[in-house]
């Protein structure tokens, strides 16, 4: 009620309708293949350039937060941007818009795959498709590991050595039979580096 008497505040452009938020995220969802840089560009075009929902700086900050959030980064990103424009309803509709239609399309694709699975031609396609998908998966692993390794190298030889050892050993233990549980290995890696980082900070604080 009070807003009627207040001068127009210099706030970002008025909130889009929830329906529009939903539709725009549907578009992002069904247009993105394999996530990654192409999808980020798509989202930036929509949210920063066209709709002016947030600035480039906010875009990068939100994206960084999504890197440390559980689950699919892009969905978390949609949730954050949806929250910026329309609060919690916006967050939920952005989530639904990005996830539901593309998940239904994925179900459809898998159902079709099921039907043609046993055809010789499908099997031949898979003999090329699976290695390509795995190769792209390994590229993802490289892109995840690269900044971590660079950060390790910047932190001196001790952390750098620990980084390489953890990378190699966490993979190697999964080849053991029986392999340890994934959660155990992840927790071990996390605690190892938490302690190493505490020690490093204490040490560098005492150094002249």
């Amino acid at each position: 009620m009070q807003a009627l008497t207040e001068p127009p505040a210099p706030e970002p452009p008025s909130a889009p309708s929830l329906w529009r938020v939903f539709l725009l995220w549907v578009q992002v969802g069904v247009q993105s293949f394999g996530g990654g840089a192409a999808t980020l560009t798509l989202i930036r075009q929509m949210a920063v350039v066209r709709e002016e929902w947030l600035t480039d700086e906010q875009f990068m900050m939100d994206w960084a937060l999504c890197q440390i959030t559980p689950g699919i980064n892009l969905i978390a990103f949609a949730i954050l941007i949806g929250r910026r424009t329309n609060g919690i309803p916006g967050a939920l509709l952005a989530l639904a818009g990005l996830l539901v239609p593309s998940a239904l399309l994925t179900i459809g694709m898998t159902a079709i795959y099921r039907q043609v699975q046993s055809l010789p031609v499908t099997q031949r396609v898979l003999q090329g498709l699976i290695p390509a998908a795995i190769g792209l998966g390994l590229v993802t692993a490289y892109n995840m590991g690269k900044p971590l390794t660079q950060a390790g190298i910047q932190d001196g030889w001790a952390i750098a050595t620990l980084t390489i050892l953890l990378l190699l050993s966490s993979g190697a233990v999964m080849l053991l039979k029986p392999a340890p549980s994934v959660v155990e290995v992840l927790a071990f890696g996390g605690l190892l580096f938490a302690l190493a980082n505490l020690i490093r900070h204490r040490w560098s604080n005492q150094a002249p």
Partner: protein
């Protein structure tokens, strides 16, 4: 193809939810799900690899491969269970946003996040290797693997085009 009866959707929900909650990124949940489902013999490496491949070809954010997996092991109920399971963990970003500003510079948090991510990468590579072995290693599959890594690292070609090239290579 899996010969066993369709998997209980609720169990699939729980395993997917756990794996997604304890990892980040669309593929971060691969190690945990792979281990749980193959140890319980609910899925073999081959079907797992198919799910990753079909998921990659389908539109949507990275990580919907889980939905393909859900469909292959549990039919439509299984697929829907995985959709619900992957919808919730990203909502934690709203909590992360509030907490992060306060603790991001704490050495313990910073170190823990880094160690956890490193372990994810290490395990991830081994899982990818297992899936590759399960498809059958020959000259062609090895060439496609190396080419897709090279093109992926180069980054100038859309992911979907690399997958299409792989599929075409498979035909010949």
């Amino acid at each position: 193809m899996e010969q066993s009866s369709p998997m209980n959707p609720f169990a699939l929900f729980l395993l997917t939810f756990k794996a997604s909650l304890l990892s980040t990124g669309g593929f971060g949940n691969i190690p945990s799900l792979h281990r749980d489902l193959t140890t319980l013999r609910l899925v073999n490496d081959r079907t797992f690899a198919e799910a990753v491949a079909v998921g990659q070809v389908s539109p949507g954010p990275n990580g919907l491969w889980v939905v393909s997996l859900g469909y292959l092991v549990g039919g439509l109920p299984g697929a829907l269970a995985t959709v619900v399971a992957i919808a919730f963990p990203p909502l934690l970003v709203l909590v992360v946003r509030l907490v992060y500003r306060r603790v991001r510079n704490h050495p313990f948090v910073e170190g823990f996040m880094r160690g956890l991510s490193l372990a994810v990468v290490g395990i991830f590579v081994v899982v990818m290797w297992k899936l590759f072995v399960a498809t059958g290693i020959d000259v062609k599959s090895t060439c496609v693997l190396i080419a897709s890594i090279g093109l992926g690292l180069w980054g100038r070609i859309p992911v979907v085009a690399i997958l299409a090239l792989g599929a075409i290579a498979g035909l010949f």
